[in-house]
């Protein structure tokens, strides 16, 4: 339902604090970004080689109200002009999520606005609604990031079914851990992507976990991670010549292949009208190219959409966009809303 042209737009303020980005954004009608402010903590955590939950929570609290103020002023709106406040309530680091949830609840209460709880993983998918892509249903979405790997089906708008998810490490987490073992910096995804471009993807044959028939849309990357780390130790022990570029390319190929094959299989099985890619790993160049070419070969009529890099990583515009259909259905969250570390999509 698109509102008539003379109707005033529906403004939703979104808040996001599930991991290491503190973000606030205002989105009109679930599609138009009025402001999108992100305060990244990457540098704060870099020397620890990963996100430290306590440090993340402290920084979220220091930043969030400031970020909200910026998001409102950039959108040229006051709190009173908003229609709702949305927050990601999980999954993620529970202490970090609680900053966004507590803030959203109190702000909504103070301003007498409806509160909308959003599933962070589902919200990634809605980043594609902010780019004017011609989204059609049923659709298949692959969400891959440092915290989650999920294959979702949307038979029609506002209906989400989880087809599968990771059983152990998330895709982005696997990139980070392998990068750390290789002595590359944090975050590891972009480093491996860059290094792999000059390596041979067939140099080492790493395991690809396709899992059994029942779990064919689930993922498992811990075996791959161990294999890469073992291979690295083995080479170092024997003092053999080691090409980091070949290693990066072979590892990346093994991981990306599984993501692509399962996504294409799901698109076939559910007669998808389009395929969406989202999450931090969606910025990986090999994933984009391979998914595009495999999809074009298997299902030439099915377009692939992915958001620009700023909307791939965690942001609050996707939270506000995901909240819009819930707002229209009156699906408001109660004041005793809690954060949930392990919220699964499609519930």
């Amino acid at each position: 339902m698109i509102p008539p042209p003379d109707a005033s737009p529906c403004y939703i303020l979104g808040l996001e604090s599930s991991c290491d980005e503190t973000a606030a954004a205002v989105v009109a009608d679930g599609r138009r970004i009025m402001s999108n402010i992100i305060s990244s903590q990457i540098e704060l955590h870099a020397r620890y080689g990963g996100v430290v939950p306590e440090i993340a929570s402290r920084r979220h609290l220091e930043q969030i109200n400031l970020i909200i103020g910026e998001a409102l002023s950039e959108a040229g709106l006051t709190l009173k002009e908003l229609h709702a406040i949305a927050v990601s309530s999980g999954p993620g680091l529970v202490g970090a999520l609680l900053i966004g949830v507590s803030t959203a609840k109190a702000l909504a209460y103070a301003a007498r606005l409806p509160l909308i709880a959003v599933n962070h993983v589902e919200a990634h998918l809605y980043a594609n609604h902010l780019t004017g892509a011609g989204i059609r249903y049923p659709l298949i979405a692959l969400i891959a990031s440092g915290g989650h790997t999920a294959l979702l089906l949307m038979p029609e708008p506002e209906q989400i079914v989880s087809l599968g998810q990771t059983r152990d490490d998330a895709a982005g987490e696997t990139f980070d851990k392998v990068a750390r073992a290789m002595g590359l910096g944090y975050p590891g995804g972009p480093q491996i992507d860059r290094l792999a471009s000059s390596g041979r993807p067939d140099a080492v044959d790493f395991p690809r976990a396709y899992l059994d028939e029942k779990a064919r849309f689930d993922f498992s990357f811990s075996g791959l991670k161990s294999a890469v780390i073992n291979h690295l130790h083995h080479l170092r022990q024997k003092k053999e010549e080691l090409s980091l570029a070949d290693l990066a390319a072979s590892f990346q190929e093994a991981l990306v292949r599984v993501l692509v094959d399962k996504t294409v299989a799901a698109a076939k099985e559910h007669h998808a009208a389009c395929v969406l890619l989202a999450g931090g790993v969606a910025a990986n160049s090999r994933l984009r190219t391979l998914l595009r070419s495999e999809l074009a070969q298997a299902l030439p009529a099915v377009p692939l959409y992915f958001p620009p890099p700023l909307l791939c990583t965690d942001n609050a515009a996707m939270i506000a966009a995901a909240a819009f259909p819930r707002y229209r259905c009156g699906l408001y969250a109660p004041l005793d809303l809690n954060a949930s570390a392990s919220l699964t999509p499609g519930c």
Binding site: S102, K105, A106, D336
Partner: protein
């Protein structure tokens, strides 16, 4: 939480149960205002205990207070949990030691003296800190006079305190040891009388302790450096 109007305590809730603050806090604020027939827009300021205490618990309180202040455009005051506990002891000249369990064999503690009339202010003798109980007892030994203890840390640390300090240790009954919101509100009002424009932007927790990962990194760097 408590609602204070001038010198009148309009309403107060104290729940000392194990359910997350995240679920409880805002529904209770709403219930308190409803019962008191006060609209949220009528609130003139918000005060919150900023710790020390459970990191997550404090952050829920501070995040809620900051957002209420931002949303209602009112000032906000942060009150030390230890100071608010000490406020409950009115006796002039009394030495007051609030104690909270800081885990890892430490307590959050401080020492105050209630000044005599007319000021009756709390003078800080030992600044709030996370410290080993024995360390604190060593410091308290020097004041050879009775010390009134308060705070939930007494549940675990009452017996060793009595053993070490004998009759110097005065332990009030359990209901008097809780950090009551009315004292937080009262302390907050005093802070706001001195600084009427106190903003939520400066409102932050008083952790008294660095994150574990930060401490370990600092230790490793110390070992690594010559």
């Amino acid at each position: 939480m408590a609602l204070l109007s001038a010198d009148t305590l309009l309403a107060e809730y104290t729940l000392n149960i194990r359910k997350t603050h995240s679920e409880r806090l805002l529904p209770l604020i709403d219930a308190l205002l409803r019962e008191s027939a006060v609209e949220r827009e009528q609130l003139e300021a918000v005060a919150v205990a900023v710790g020390p205490g459970s990191f997550t618990g404090i952050r829920i309180g501070v995040a809620t207070a900051r957002a209420l202040a931002q949303g209602l455009a009112i000032p906000a005051a942060g009150v030390s949990t230890l100071k608010a506990l000490a406020e409950a002891v009115p006796t002039p000249g009394a030495l007051i030691c609030p104690l909270l369990d800081a885990r890892r064999n430490e307590v959050y503690g401080a020492l105050y003296r209630r000044q005599s009339a007319p000021s009756l202010r709390l003078e800080e003798l030992i600044a709030p800190a996370a410290t080993a109980l024995d360390n604190l007892i060593g410091q308290l030994h020097r004041y050879q006079e009775p010390i009134i203890f308060t705070g939930e840390g007494l549940a675990a640390y009452g017996p060793p305190l009595t053993a070490a300090l004998g009759s110097q240790a005065v332990l009030p009954p359990a209901p008097l040891r809780l950090c009551r919101a009315s004292w937080v509100a009262l302390c907050g009002r005093r802070l706001l009388e001195r600084n009427p424009a106190a903003s939520y932007e400066e409102l932050l927790p008083q952790y008294l302790r660095r994150p574990e990962a930060e401490r370990r990194l600092a230790e490793r760097q110390k070992e690594g450096s010559p």
